[in-house]
C-alpha cells in the first residue's frame, strides 16, 4: 500500500493541451464583419468573395430570407428536442418530401449538421467485419464515418478504376477461401461526386459496372456536386445520365448550393428508413432549426424555377479555369466545370510550412487588392492522405465577368511578385 501511495505521488501527467505558438497559421482567423455574401468585408477590407461556397448566390436572396423570417415568426429559433421527442416539425417533413421529389428518390432524411450527415450514415450500415473501398482523396467527414464504423478500409488511388478493380479481385479470391464468411460480409464503395480536395469528378459509369460485377454497394457523397452538376442541378447522376436507383445512398450537405445549414441523405426507403433508428447524428441530436429548413425549401424552389443558373455557373467556371492557366508558379487543380478549384505551387519550397507561408503572401496580396481568398485548411496530423497546400478559389453565379477577369489578373500579379 505504501508503494502504491508513492506511485500515485510521483506520477506526473502531460499537460492537457500543448501550448500553441502565437504565429500558428490557423490561430488567427479572418474576421468577417457582416454577411459573407458576394461583397464581403474581411478584416476591415471590402473584397469580392472568392472563398465562400455560395455557388448559387442564395445566401443573400430576399425570397429565401423572407421564407426564413416567416418560419421564425411561427416557430421561434430552436426545436428543443431530437426528432423522436417532439422535435419533428411539419417543415422537416416537407423538406424531406421536397428533397426526395427533387432527386427523384423514394425518401430523404435530414440531419442538422453537414459534417454529421455522412459521418453518421456510413456507420449505420457498415459494421465491424464489413469491407469499404474508399477513394484516397475522400474528405475528412467520410474518414471519420469510416473510423466510427470499425470496418476494414481499403484505399484505392484517386479515380483509378484499375486499382479499385485490383482490390476487388483480391477480395474475390479471399472470399473463395472462406465462402461462409463472405456470405455475411457487406461491401461498400464510398466516393464523392465532386471531390473537395482535388476538384475532379468520379467516373460513375465505370463504378456502376464494377458494382454489378463484384456485388458492391455504392455510397455517393454529393456535397459539392448537388446543385452544381447536371442539367437541373440533381448532381452527378444527372450529369452522367445514370438511373438514380443504381446508387444505394446519396448524401449531401445543404451548406453549399442551398446556402442553409445541415445535410440530407436520399435513396430508396429500404435503405434510408434504417437511419431513422440507427443514424447517431439523427437520433441523438436536436433537429434542424425550422428557419433553416424553411430557407432550404425556398432555395429548392428557386433551383427548380430557374434551371438556367446551372448553365450560367458552368460557363463562369470554364471562363476562370481558362483565365487561370499559365500563371507562372501556380497550377490549377480541378475540372473545368468545377466551381471549387485549387491553386497549388508548381514547385514546392521543400517543407509544407514554407509552402504555406508563400501561399499566405499570395493570399494577402489579393486580399489587399480586393479579392477575398483563403488557403484550403486541413488537419495535418489527422488526414489519411494529406493534400498539398493550396489556395481555394470558389466561383459563384453572382460574380460578373469583369470580376472574374480581375481575379485572374490579380492572381497573376501576386504570383509574379511573390514567387519570383
Amino acid at each position: 500500500v505504501q508503494e502504491k501511495e508513492e506511485l500515485i505521488e510521483e506520477w506526473q501527467p502531460e499537460p492537457l493541451v500543448s501550448p500553441v505558438p502565437k504565429d500558428h497559421p490557423a490561430l488567427n482567423y479572418n474576421i468577417v464583419s457582416g454577411p459573407p455574401t458576394h461583397i464581403i468585408t474581411v478584416n476591415g477590407k471590402e473584397c469580392i468573395n472568392f472563398a465562400s461556397f455560395n455557388f448559387l448566390g442564395l445566401l443573400d436572396n430576399e425570397k429565401v430570407k423572407s421564407a426564413a423570417q416567416a418560419s421564425l415568426k411561427k416557430y421561434g429559433v430552436g426545436t428543443c428536442g431530437p426528432r423522436g421527442f417532439y422535435g419533428t416539425f411539419d417543415v422537416h417533413l416537407e423538406l424531406e418530401e421536397r428533397l426526395a421529389k427533387f432527386m427523384r428518390t423514394e425518401e430523404a432524411i435530414i440531419y442538422s449538421y453537414g459534417f454529421a450527415t455522412i459521418a453518421s450514415a456510413i456507420p449505420a450500415y457498415s459494421k465491424r467485419g464489413d469491407i469499404v473501398f474508399v477513394d484516397e482523396a475522400a474528405c475528412f467527414a467520410i474518414q471519420k464515418g469510416l473510423q466510427a464504423s470499425r470496418s476494414n478500409i481499403k484505399l484505392f488511388k484517386h479515380n483509378d478504376m484499375a486499382d479499385l478493380e485490383r482490390l476487388l479481385k483480391e477480395q474475390e479470391t479471399e472470399d473463395q477461401k472462406n465462402p461462409r464468411k463472405a456470405r455475411v460480409t457487406r461491401r461498400f464503395i464510398v466516393v464523392e461526386g465532386l471531390y473537395m480536395n482535388t476538384g475532379d469528378v468520379c467516373p460513375l459509369p465505370e463504378l456502376i459496372k464494377l458494382k454489378y460485377k463484384y456485388k458492391v454497394r455504392i455510397f455517393l457523397e454529393e456535397s459539392l456536386s448537388f446543385g452544381v452538376l447536371g442539367e437541373h442541378g440533381r448532381g452527378i447522376t444527372e450529369h452522367f445520365g445514370i438511373n438514380i436507383d443504381d446508387i444505394d445512398l446519396i448524401s449531401a450537405n445543404m451548406e453549399n448550393s442551398l446556402a442553409s445549414i445541415g445535410g440530407f441523405c436520399c435513396g430508396r426507403s429500404f435503405i434510408i428508413d434504417h437511419q431513422r433508428l440507427s443514424g447517431q447524428g439523427y437520433c441523438f441530436s436536436a433537429s434542424l432549426p425550422p428557419l433553416l429548413a424553411a430557407a432550404a425549401i425556398e432555395a429548392l424552389n428557386i433551383m427548380e424555377d430557374n434551371p438556367d443558373i446551372f448553365q450560367t455557373l458552368r460557363a463562369k467556371c470554364e471562363r476562370i479555369h481558362k483565365a487561370l492557366q499559365g500563371i507562372s508558379g501556380l497550377k490549377v487543380v480541378g475540372e473545368s466545370f468545377s466551381p471549387a478549384l485549387h491553386l497549388q505551387l508548381e514547385k514546392s519550397c521543400g517543407s509544407r510550412e514554407d509552402d504555406m507561408k508563400l501561399l499566405k503572401r499570395v493570399v494577402d496580396y489579393c486580399m489587399n487588392t480586393g479579392i477575398a481568398l483563403t488557403q484550403a485548411r486541413y488537419l495535418e496530423k489527422e488526414e489519411k492522405c494529406l493534400p498539398p497546400p493550396s489556395i481555394r478559389v470558389v466561383i459563384t453565379v453572382e460574380q460578373t465577368e469583369q470580376e472574374l477577369d480581375k481575379a485572374a489578373s490579380l492572381l497573376k500579379e501576386a504570383a509574379q511578385s511573390v514567387l519570383n
Binding site: K73, Y75, G76, C80, F85, D90, Y212, R276, G281, L292
Partner: protein, 523 residues
C-alpha cells in the same frame, strides 16, 4: 436507497438522489411480457415468410437480390415486432413553437403503425412535457426573436464556409466572449451542433496512450468521441465515486495494460444531469478525486446549463464551486437557450489549442447567424443587459426560480401519489417508471387523449425492464398547467396501475417559495 449526504463538508447542501428498487413481482411480469411479445414476434415472422400475412417491410431491389443482405434478420426483429407496435409514441410531428403548450398534427394509422396518414386536423394546446425548454426561451415573439429576425435579414441564414477559412463572423467572436463571461472562464469556443462538439473535440484532446474514464450512462456523443480518439476507455458505475477512485488508483499504479508504461493523461467524462435517470453528478467528490489523482475533468452540461444553480450557471453554480476546477466545460445551447449548437469553455490555452486542432473548426460550417443572435439575446436576458454583469438579472432570476419551484412541486406531488420516480430532487428531468412493455404505448396514448404530450422511452435507450416516461419541466409551465398534468397522470396511473412505490412520502404543506430555499434542508 435514499441517502442524504453531507460528505465531510464537500457538499454545501443536501444531495437527495433516489433510485427505488424494482419490485420483484413487477420485474417478473415485465420479463413475461417481453417473452410473450417475442413468441408472437416469431409467429408473425413465420407467417410473413410463408406469405400467410402480407409483408409490409420495404425490400431490396430485384437487381440487387443476390448482393450480401444489408441488414441481418435478427437486428430488425426488435424493430419489426416490438417497436413497430408502439411506434406512434415517437416522432410526433408538431406545428407550432415548442413552448409550454404545443399544437400537434393528428396522424392515424390504418395498418397497425406501418404507415401513417395525416388527417389534416391539428390538436391544439397540448401541454408539452417532452421538449427541452427549461428556461422557457422557445418563444415566437419577444426580444430574443426580434433580435434574431434582425440578424437574419442582415446576414442571411447560412454561412457557407468553415471557421478557419471564411466563416468566422464578428457575431461568432461576440458570442464566444459572452459565453466565456457567462460561464466564468477565460475563453470559449462555439460549434454548430452539440453532438458534434463532443465527437469532434474529445479526439483533439486525447489520443493513444491516454486513458478515458467514462460514466456508465454517458450520452452517445461522449461515447463516440471517446471511441474516435483512440484512447483506452474504462467505465465506472453510474455516479459511483468508489468505483471511480478504484479505477483511478489502478490506472496510476499499474500503468498501460501491456507495456506498463505510465498513462500520458487521464480524462474523466461526466455529465451535469443525466437525461435518462434525472441524476446529478456528484461534482464536489469528482473534483476532489481529480485533484488528488492529477487527472482532467470534462463536464458535459447539455441539460444542466441554465437549468441548475441559483444564477442559472449550471451544475458548478449549483454546488457553489469554482469553474476553474473543471478543466473542460462543455455544454449545448439547444435546451436552455432555445437555439442550437454547443460550446466548450476553459483556459485560454485550451481554447487556442482547440481553435487550431478541432475537427469542427477546420472541416465543418460555422453556426448560422440568427441562431447565434438568439443565444446572445437569451444570455443577455439571463445575465442583464450589460454583458459584464456576473450576476443575474431580475428576468433571469424569475425564470430560474420558476423552474426550481416547478421541479420541486412536481416531483413531490408525483412521489406523493405513489409513482416510482428516479433521480435527484432538484433535477428538472423527471423519469416515471413504467417497466412493462405494453404500458409504454398505453401511457403515451392515454396522456395524448387527455391533451398532454409526454415522452416514453424503452429499450435500447434504457435497460430492458426499466422503461419509463420522462417529464421535462420548464419555466414556462404555470402552476395550473402542472396541476392539470398531475391530475391526468394520477388518473392514468390508476387506470394502468403504475403506482408501484412502496415508500410513500408524507406530503409536505406547500410552502411559498423564496430565495432562501436553496440554503434550507428538506426534511
Amino acid at each position: 436507497m435514499n441517502h442524504i449526504v453531507h460528505n465531510g463538508g464537500l457538499y454545501k447542501r443536501p444531495f437527495n438522489e433516489a433510485f427505488e428498487e424494482t419490485p420483484m413481482l413487477v420485474a417478473v411480469l415485465t420479463y413475461v411480457g417481453y417473452g410473450v411479445l417475442t413468441l408472437f414476434g416469431y409467429l408473425r415472422d413465420f407467417m410473413r415468410q410463408w406469405k400467410i400475412e402480407k409483408c409490409q417491410n420495404a425490400t431490396e431491389r430485384e437487381e440487387q437480390k443476390d448482393f450480401v443482405p444489408l441488414y441481418q434478420d435478427f437486428e430488425n426483429f426488435y424493430n419489426r415486432n416490438l417497436y413497430m407496435r408502439i411506434r406512434d409514441s415517437w416522432n410526433r410531428p408538431i406545428c407550432s413553437v415548442p413552448g409550454a403548450k404545443v399544437d400537434m398534427m393528428e396522424r392515424v394509422s390504418h395498418d397497425y403503425n406501418w404507415t401513417f396518414t395525416y388527417t389534416g386536423r391539428v390538436i391544439k394546446d397540448v401541454i408539452n412535457m417532452g421538449s427541452y425548454n427549461y428556461l422557457g426561451f422557445a418563444q415566437k415573439a419577444g426580444t430574443c426573436q426580434e433580435a434574431a429576425a434582425k440578424v437574419l435579414s442582415q446576414y442571411g441564414a447560412g454561412v457557407c464556409s468553415t471557421r478557419q477559412e471564411m466563416g468566422n463572423l464578428d457575431k461568432h467572436e461576440e458570442l464566444e466572449k459572452l459565453v466565456a463571461t457567462f460561464l466564468g472562464v477565460e475563453s470559449a469556443m462555439v460549434y454548430g451542433m452539440g453532438f458534434a462538439t463532443n465527437s469532434m473535440n474529445i479526439p483533439a484532446l486525447v489520443g493513444k496512450g491516454c486513458l478515458i474514464l467514462s460514466d456508465e450512462l454517458n450520452h452517445a456523443s461522449l461515447v463516440l468521441g471517446a471511441r474516435l480518439s483512440g484512447a483506452t476507455i474504462r467505465i465506472f458505475k453510474h455516479n459511483n465515486m468508489q468505483s471511480l477512485e478504484k479505477l483511478l488508483k489502478d490506472a496510476i499504479v499499474h500503468g498501460q495494460p501491456r507495456t506498463r508504461r505510465p498513462w500520458k493523461k487521464i480524462l474523466i467524462l461526466v455529465e451535469g444531469i443525466y437525461s435518462m435517470e434525472g441524476s446529478i453528478v456528484r461534482l464536489p467528490e469528482v473534483i476532489a478525486l481529480k485533484k488528488k489523482y492529477k487527472s482532467y475533468l470534462y463536464l458535459d452540461e447539455a441539460h444542466s446549463i441554465g437549468a441548475l444553480g441559483p444564477n442559472g450557471r449550471g451544475v458548478v453554480d449549483y454546488f457553489g464551486l469554482s469553474p476553474e476546477d473543471v478543466d473542460v466545460m462543455m455544454g449545448t445551447f439547444t435546451k436552455s437557450f432555445g437555439a442550437a449548437g454547443g460550446y466548450i469553455g476553459g483556459k485560454k490555452e485550451l481554447i487556442d489549442y482547440l481553435r487550431t486542432h478541432s475537427h469542427s473548426a477546420v472541416y465543418a460550417t460555422s453556426m448560422s447567424p440568427p441562431v447565434v443572435e438568439q443565444i446572445i439575446a437569451s444570455m443577455k436576458c439571463i445575465m442583464g443587459e450589460d454583458g459584464t454583469l456576473v450576476l443575474i438579472s431580475p428576468v433571469g432570476k424569475a425564470r430560474v426560480q420558476q423552474l426550481a419551484e416547478n421541479t420541486r412541486y412536481f416531483r413531490r406531488r408525483l412521489k406523493g401519489m405513489g409513482f416510482i420516480i428516479y433521480g435527484n430532487e432538484d433535477s428538472p428531468i423527471v423519469p416515471l417508471m413504467l417497466y412493462m412493455p405494453a404500458k409504454i404505448g398505453a401511457f403515451g396514448r392515454e396522456m395524448l387523449k387527455r391533451n398532454i404530450g409526454v415522452v416514453v422511452v424503452g429499450f435500447p435507450a434504457t435497460p430492458i425492464i426499466e422503461s419509463r416516461a420522462r417529464f421535462c419541466l420548464s419555466a414556462a409551465h404555470t402552476k395550473e398547467m402542472l396541476d392539470t398534468a398531475l391530475k391526468e397522470v394520477d388518473e392514468v396511473g390508476d387506470l394502468l396501475q403504475l403506482k408501484y412505490s412502496r415508500h410513500r412520502l408524507v406530503p409536505l404543506l406547500d410552502r411559498p417559495f423564496d430565495e432562501t430555499t436553496y440554503e434550507e434542508t428538506e426534511d
